[in-house]
Symmetry: C2
Subunit: 191 residues, 2 copies
DNA sequence: GGCTGTCTGCCTACCAGTAGGTAGATAAAC
DNA sequence: GTTTATCTACCTACTGGTAGGCAGACAGCC
């Protein structure tokens, strides 16, 4: 049994890529079917509804991102270095302005989403915000981030800046715009 | 002739509201027709295609926003006060987290958009960025904004923060999230 | 004044294509 | 012999868009 459910993974991969490029309303089961190479109806076997698929998408995205955050933690000494690590992640995630973070893509179509997906977006943001708060706190203590007053409030603000930067870079499909857009953050990272 | 084209305005109003709530792919001609009270086909008389409608939407949005910026300019003394004015505008524009700036809503669906609309988004952002650059420059000179080093780079970053803040506030439909999300900016406005 | 042609704004009726989703069959795997 | 993964064939609802008609306003002209 090489792959109990390669198809399921292939569907998630295809759906994630499509959602991040076209948004929640911008891709269909027919698109996925063509991409993965099975019939449209067969997708319903793996994900009964588009809402189920979206939730599964967010859950996987959440897990992956959590793992990446842990890797940054273990690979970086200072709070500033950790912030740099997350910035790199968001920049790479935007694929040179060709796509968005999944929760940015979903947020924009909020009112087309199922309540479960909205809940997942909240959980994801909560996880990232908590991580950012710790990194900022550490950066304040070790002097690698300047001007930190309220790690809690600023964590939300940093996330907001990163998501906004992806959005701006997306319009021009230009990674340089991303770098410029996060100036308010980078100018404060010392080490 | 009370109204040569009230219908056209009504269509633009309905479409703007829908686009900002559901995104570009989240509203249809049928929705607009029902909302405005004419038949779906009649919309094509005013806007031959959805691309035409979207361009008209962005143009009107651009003009309105430009007027608002001018009003802020004439009503505020310091650079910091002008920034506060723009922040208020973005917060009010998000209608307590129930909708987004039109160009945020459109950006997320970029690959479903016509090239003309993408161009319009660029023009809008250029206009706001230029305005922000002047406000930051002024704030540096009059001391109402602290830590300004490169008004040009930081202008893009401020816009990115404002758009990101709308996005975050949207998920929870909570205006308090917006306030928290712009901390990186407000902590630097002195007067 | 009345006549005529044009323009505006809307209508009904329709198109091909696509959306997400369902029913039921089939064949292989455990 | 049930479970798993897929298929064909279909459904209803809706997508943006088109064709053609029609009532009223508005001009210029006699």
């Amino acid at each position: 049994m090489i792959a109990r459910s390669d198809t399921k993974t292939a569907l998630l991969n295809s759906a994630e890529s499509a959602a991040r490029r076209f948004g929640f309303d911008g891709f269909s089961y027919a698109d996925l079917a063509k991409d993965v190479g099975i019939r449209k109806a067969s997708i319903h076997h793996h994900f009964p509804s588009k809402a189920d698929l979206s939730v599964a998408l967010m859950e996987r995205y959440h897990r992956n991102f959590q793992r990446i955050c842990a890797e940054i933690d273990s690979g970086c000494e200072t709070g500033g270095a950790k912030l740099q690590g997350l910035i790199r992640q968001y920049k790479e995630g935007s694929d040179n302005g060709r796509q968005l973070c999944l929760c940015v893509a979903f947020s924009a179509s909020r009112d087309s989403l199922s309540p479960d997906v909205i809940k997942q977006i909240g959980l994801f943001r909560g996880m990232v915000t908590e991580w950012l708060e710790k990194a900022l706190e550490q950066g304040r203590k070790d002097g690698s981030v300047s001007g930190v007053h309220s790690p809690e409030r600023e964590a939300v603000s940093v996330l907001s800046l990163l998501e906004g930067a992806q959005l701006l870079a997306r319009t021009d499909e230009d990674p340089a715009v991303f770098d410029q857009a996060i100036t308010l953050l980078t100018m404060r990272i010392c080490g």
